[in-house]
């Protein structure tokens, strides 16, 4: 059962990823991206990382995609078809991507990963919250604080950059 779900999710991810980067309508691309992100959240669910999946859905699907759609609207791109891309560029992209896929996959297949049998740790919200605020080993208080400062800086920076300059 889980195997089938994983294959379905994988299929969704790959198909909509391809569509995201090839479709002519920009709004559709955003929607396809939304599907990819949703499927990714599904994979997190399958890993039993429920909190991460929830974050993926709220931040990515709910936040970033909405932000992208807003910017599409703000830059009046909603009805325009995207320009044709010249064939040389596509060829270059396909060659380098294909070569990359080939190289990485062949390397991966030659490598044997030692699966661990250890007991999984507590991945409930309670455990995550403790880990985030702990400053012992396996505690993440420092990056947590740093990223909070980063988000604040980003907020201010984004407002300053996008603000209309007074003439």
């Amino acid at each position: 059962m889980e195997t089938i779900i994983f294959y379905i999710l994988s299929l969704v991810i790959l198909v909509f990823s391809v569509l995201t980067v090839t479709t002519k309508k920009i709004l559709r691309a955003a929607v396809y991206l939304l599907f990819v992100l949703g499927a990714t959240a599904g994979i997190y669910f399958m890993f039993n990382y429920n909190f991460l999946a929830a974050v993926q859905l709220t931040v990515y699907a709910g936040g970033i995609v909405v932000l992208i759609i807003f910017s599409i609207l703000l830059t009046h791109q909603i009805n325009t078809d995207l320009d044709k891309i010249n064939i040389k560029k596509i060829a270059l992209g396909i060659i380098s991507s294909g070569l990359g896929i080939f190289l990485v996959l062949s390397t991966l297949n030659n490598h044997h990963f030692e699966a661990s049998n250890k007991q999984a740790t507590d991945s409930t919200i309670h455990g995550i919250g403790r880990a985030l605020l702990s400053y012992s080993d396996n505690g993440y208080i420092l990056p947590f604080e740093v990223i909070s400062v980063l988000l604040l800086a980003t907020m201010i920076g984004a407002i300053i950059i996008a603000k209309k300059v007074e003439e």
Partner: protein
């Protein structure tokens, strides 16, 4: 751990997803679609982190937290990128990456 699925399966999917994102970044001319491509790349990496965490080191949650921080930073990056895109659009009435070439020789 997902029953019946080895780590190779997951890594295969994320590798393909990663290079689809890279392809989009190399070919798309519109800045917003390029941004979407970057999101694809980030997602592929996120899944990788989680998979490694789950399959190889389940006793710790490092991969999980790494993913979480990447999501946070991706949000920040998207916000700044979109602010820049809007500003560029306001200045040159285009968000075509090929029109942004003031930094050339």
């Amino acid at each position: 751990m997902i029953e019946g699925i080895s780590i190779h399966h997951i890594l295969t999917v994320t590798t393909i997803m990663f290079f689809i994102g890279a392809y989009g970044f190399l070919t798309r001319k519109n800045l917003i679609t390029m941004l979407m491509s970057i999101e694809l790349v980030l997602n592929a990496v996120n899944i990788n982190f989680v998979a490694f965490n789950k399959y190889l080191y389940p006793e710790n949650m490092q991969g999980h937290f790494f993913s979480m921080f990447i999501i946070g930073i991706a949000a920040a990056e998207a916000a700044v990128a979109i602010a820049i895109i809007i500003n560029i659009y306001r200045n040159i009435h285009s968000i075509d990456v090929e029109d942004i070439e003031q930094m050339k020789y």
